[in-house]
Symmetry: C2
Subunit: 706 residues, 2 copies
């Protein structure tokens, strides 16, 4: 006897890299010659131009951009994605509002798409699949807990919920314990403040409807999987498909919480711990298998069928250029990705809508001859970000040397508006001061009368030993296209957005993230009805961009790195000092190196104050400011961490908030079975950091010193 309740069949064009696709039975209706103008070497930021730009950035135009950008699904390399390439090219080549030039660059990259002929499916079947278990967030600890409950994981299917660990980690952890398939759902407790009924969710609130499925890349690295460190040109060397690392080791499929409820609320076995419970309206049990009196026969198993195909596809970046009047060889790069999972009104079109409005305003000034930046501005619309930051990574691989030589900073605005409460900014420390300067001069949306800065500080702040209470800048992981700029190239980078009040919701992210419900209507109804938050982000990003491109002295405060280094050092001393002492590893050289850095940074900041604006030394000083971030790179520091070379911002998977190489090496050295070579690696990582800090201090020290 064969029977099956088909829970869902994949449809549509959206896809996950590697494995997995939509499961559900929802249906969503579906700017002149730059060399000719006379220029002055001392050209500086023009506040009148800045004011003019701020004034012209128009909320209603951003709204119309967003409506157009999000009107159809535009997953990477789809016909609509390519149509948007043409839309961007058209805007940037417009004779009245366009840039100096615009072009596309194409890469041939490995992407994963569902099969129309063989849709993916999740079925509950007679014993021919795997017994279902509930594994919470799919962390290593979660699977260990299941084993401690004497639940045999071999051959099971693990139902997990988003959050806690990264997508890819769930499958990797599961496979280690013998699990043969993973389902991932979004628990209403994590995304909807517990609301789980259609009447409480979109279109009745911003909540995720029960059928919403959160897609996402399950690839562990970023960049094209076949061409690490090389641009994915058609002729480039490609890894053999059998040699790719970073793909999920077992089939992995996201589902909506409606389907998850059918499964989870019918499980048998011991109760899940309190922290594992969610908001599906039943007590979560661990399994394995279903309870006798539930919706399914007690011996039912779950069968996950994934038929995604890996395909080489051509993905385009669109690049637009405004040539610098004085320093055309210094680049300020501003980018966002273009590809979405479905309609992607928020992710990424809210960012692209802002990008297009900034380019219109700047392009208009440019075409009128009213303005040309001191430095070159590069605007970028990256392809295939959702599949693993692919377009931006290939770009950095192709132009590695040139970008490292010349790039002043990278500004990323991906999702521009998560919601409308406050600015959210992430970046490396030299970006802090320019974001502060910009936001102090722009009014926050709403009727508070506060600046963006003053509004921001109410939501997210910290006490700086130097400045007192300031808004808190987040750090940059690998969540968007800044990743290869900061980690691979060592370029000062930042990410800007408006977001919600975290005291009012526990939502992991805006609820329709990566689902088919991320639509224009959703944005207009719930996130930013008057588009004033989009406008606020456009003004913030526009102001930061202009300050970086036009200021005579680069507005990068390198001494803001001193705080970071001091706090990393403090954490190392407090949390690792005793441990290291026992191993005869001294933090003394690190103390000295941090002091050297602080002294050199402070002296350089003072030196800049003494310089005349017309001084030929301006460019020298600017080079020091620009290149500081590069001095923290060591391509040999973390040979197993693809692209990660920045010794301060590489992934820190340990518990101590200090230099990541040191933190990780210490954690490994403390593991059972670690040998003396693990302590040698601690010492090596310490020397790598010390050398990088001394090198960075040397970059900031007076240029004729040795």
């Amino acid at each position: 006897m064969h029977w099956a309740k088909i829970l869902g069949v994949a449809v549509g064009a959206a896809a996950l890299l590697g494995l997995g696709i939509i499961l559900g039975h929802f249906a969503i209706p579906k700017a002149t010659d730059p060399q000719a103008s006379s220029t002055s070497d001392s050209q500086d930021l023009d506040l009148a131009i800045l004011d003019s730009v701020m004034g012209q950035l128009d909320a209603s135009r951003i709204r119309e951009n967003l409506r157009e950008l999000s009107k159809e699904p535009h997953v990477a390399t789809s016909p609509r994605d390519e149509a948007l390439v043409q839309l961007l090219l058209g805007r940037w080549k417009d004779s009245a509002t366009g840039l100096d030039s615009a072009k596309t660059s194409e890469y041939t990259v490995l992407l994963s798409y569902p099969s129309a002929e063989q849709p993916n499916s999740v079925e509950v079947v007679d014993p021919s699949g795997g017994l279902l278990v509930y594994a919470n967030r799919g962390s290593e600890e979660d699977f260990k807990h299941l084993e401690a409950q004497r639940i045999k994981l071999e051959g099971t299917i693990a139902l997990t919920r988003y959050g806690g660990v990264g997508r890819g980690a769930k499958a990797i952890n599961a496979a280690k314990h013998g699990v043969v398939g993973v389902l991932v759902y979004t628990d209403p407790g994590d995304i909807n403040d517990g609301k789980n009924s259609p009447s409480e969710t979109f279109p009745n609130s911003w909540g995720l409807p029960p059928s919403g499925v959160e897609r996402g890349s399950y690839f562990e690295y970023f960049g094209d999987p076949l061409t690490p460190y090389l641009p994915a040109h058609p002729s480039s060397f490609r890894l053999d498909l059998n040699n790719i690392s970073g793909f999920p080791p077992i089939p992995t499929q996201p589902i909506g919480f409606e389907d998850a409820k059918d499964l989870l609320c019918n499980l048998t076995g011991p109760s899940a711990p309190g922290s594992w419970q969610g908001a599906l309206g039943c007590e979560y049990k661990l399994g394995p298998g279903f309870e006798p009196n539930g919706s399914f026969p007690a011996d039912s198993e779950v069968k996950v069928s994934v038929h995604n195909r890996l395909e080489l596809r051509t993905s385009s970046n669109v690049l637009g250029i405004i040539q610098g009047a004085v320093e055309p060889d210094r680049y300020v790069i501003y980018g966002n990705h273009r590809d979405s999972w479905v309609h992607g009104a928020v992710d990424p079109s809210s960012g692209t809508a802002v990008l297009l409005e900034i380019s219109r305003v700047l392009g208009t000034l440019l075409k009128k001859g009213a303005w040309r930046p001191r430095r070159t501005i590069i605007l970028a619309s990256w392809g295939a970000e959702e599949f693993g930051l692919i377009g931006s990574t290939e770009f950095t691989e192709e132009f590695l040397s040139k970008l490292q030589e010349r790039t002043v900073a990278y500004i990323n605005v991906d999702i521009s508006v998560f919601s409308n409460a406050t600015l959210r900014a992430q970046g490396t420390p030299p970006a802090q001061s320019v974001i502060f300067s910009a936001t102090k001069e722009i009014s926050a949306p709403g009727s508070s009368g506060l600046s963006i800065y003053d509004n921001w500080i109410r939501y997210t702040n910290r006490t700086s030993p130097v400045y007192g209470l300031v808004p808190k800048l987040g750090t940059l992981g690998a969540g968007s296209d800044y990743a290869s700029f900061v980690h691979f190239l060592g370029i000062t980078s930042m990410d800007l957005a408006y977001t919600y009040d975290q005291s009012k919701t526990s939502a992991r992210i805006y609820p329709t993230y990566h689902t088919a419900f991320d639509t224009f209507d959703y944005v207009e109804k719930f996130l930013d009805p008057d588009f004033s938050s989009h406008q606020a982000v456009a003004r913030t990003a526009g102001s930061v961009l202009l300050r970086l491109s036009d200021s005579l002295f680069l507005p990068l405060n390198v001494s803001d790195y001193s705080e970071t280094l001091q706090s990393f050092l403090q954490a190392a001393q407090d949390d690792l000092g005793t441990l290291l002492e026992k191993q005869n590893i001294s933090l003394g050289p690190l103390v000295t190196a941090v002091e050297k850095f602080k002294t050199a940074a402070a002296a350089l900041v003072q030196h800049i104050l003494t310089l005349q604006k017309s001084s030929p030394k301006v460019r020298m000083v600017n080079d020091q400011l620009m290149l500081l971030e590069r001095a923290f790179l060591n391509p040999r520091a973390f040979p197993d961490e693809r692209y990660y070379s920045h010794v301060l911002w590489a992934p820190n998977t340990a518990s101590v908030a200090t230099f990541p190489g040191l933190a990780n090496a210490c954690a490994r050295a403390q593991e059972i079975n670690s040998g003396p070579e693990a302590w040698a690696e601690v010492q090596r990582q310490l020397s790598i950091v010390v050398t990088a800090l001394e090198g960075a201090a040397a970059t900031l020290a007076p240029v004729a010193d040795l």
Copy 2:
């Protein structure tokens, strides 16, 4: 019965890194405030100053420098080496002839010294050592030939002669075949044009006396063996002694040809091939063991006892600085090592004598206020070069970022005079034009009336497709302190010297190289009696230095790289094309990349001609010229080749004179037992080169292009 003829006992302070030391019974008696002066942004090379410098460089002062520098042995870190540190510091801090500043920097490095208590020895003993074989130059082919003669190598001692393969390779090759000890001698056929008797050698000619022993480092890498990629500060991470790679795997000992003759001319066994014969005055046989009627009992064996000790020692670099007037953040570095094996009159003191004379002349102009360079000049006296380029490598590790950001070029003058016939120059292609410009303006020593250039072209030339007949610039291996500058940092580098007429002698190098006979008397009597060749090198190096430090536009002709790339491409097409085609690997992308480079380089050279001297674009163009060499670096290209990152100049151990990664990968792929992954590596190396060339072309292309 125990008997032994002790052939030699080590004496003296000279040592070999890792293993081995002198064997022999000879005895040799034993430059104002830079910021204050008014400067003009357009300051350019001043030909009157250049003339004045050329005129002031004084042969007799070089002679006196050399006499002082070479009067005592000054092996690295010896008291005399440290005394010379003080001598240099004194000169460079002199108030009338010194530089702006001078200082030392110290590194704690692993060096190998002989034991005074337990001298090294080579003995012929009753059977308790190893049977002696003659292994020619100790190449892999040589050992294979011995095995083909059915000579069992297991447990033997191999007598080899210098030349053919590097020092370290002899022991590595030998050990692979079971050999347990290696002796290395200098054959009079290779060094003395066959002369082998005391009456025909020094002090009666420039020939090497029979007792002369050529020392040298047998370490396979360069830099401090314990701290790869990290500066050897006292607190730096150090490899465990058991984990060091690159040291000879078996005891290795150099001996003089006097002792070698005793051994080699008593061997039994089949005759060595004709190409293995040398000038010891007997027929060379292969062994194993001695012939019955010779000087030793037929069952005699050879015992090699090496008791060198590895010690952590402090080695100093001396750095002297002349601050640049206009661009203090651009560095021209000029260096030579200071340490010798014994007296080291030629190696390295002939170079140091020139360095000191250049610094005196420049220092005098500086202190008088008559001159200050446009860019900063850094003069360097490196420590511990003979043990593996250690001082210069540690310097590049310590100041990696800063040096990569700012260094225009590195000029190396190690041995300044091998002999007095002609200039010998090695360098990367952008160095060619400045060397040509300098040497066209300087008279060659002697009465020819020719310029150094016109004299040089008579000895060493090639036909350039662009320029016609020109002197031939050699390429840079890892023979002196330029190695880490070019291979690790990607800095345009060159090495300058005067040398002998290769048509008049087949000597591998000047005969007393690395022996105790390399003395002041030797130089004065045979190499350069009037020191006019030393003066010629001082003028050449001084002129190149001034042109690099003072010219408004950097005198680096980047389009000279086009010839190199074209010739590498041609070799790939001619010698690998068919092979690659069979593997479906196309050279098409390489052809395109070379074309792109050539076009961009030619356009940039044209662009420079159109620029006004006062143009603010000068620095931009100079940055392109300076940074071109960096664009060829890829630290991930050759993970097994320590420090080698330059995709054009990494070691090419294959027979095709093309891009080294491609050449080596093709050679490996053609080996028996190579699999498809070897061909994948060929494709990977091809992509690495293509990406580097495209990146280099992008560095040269107009700066606002993308």
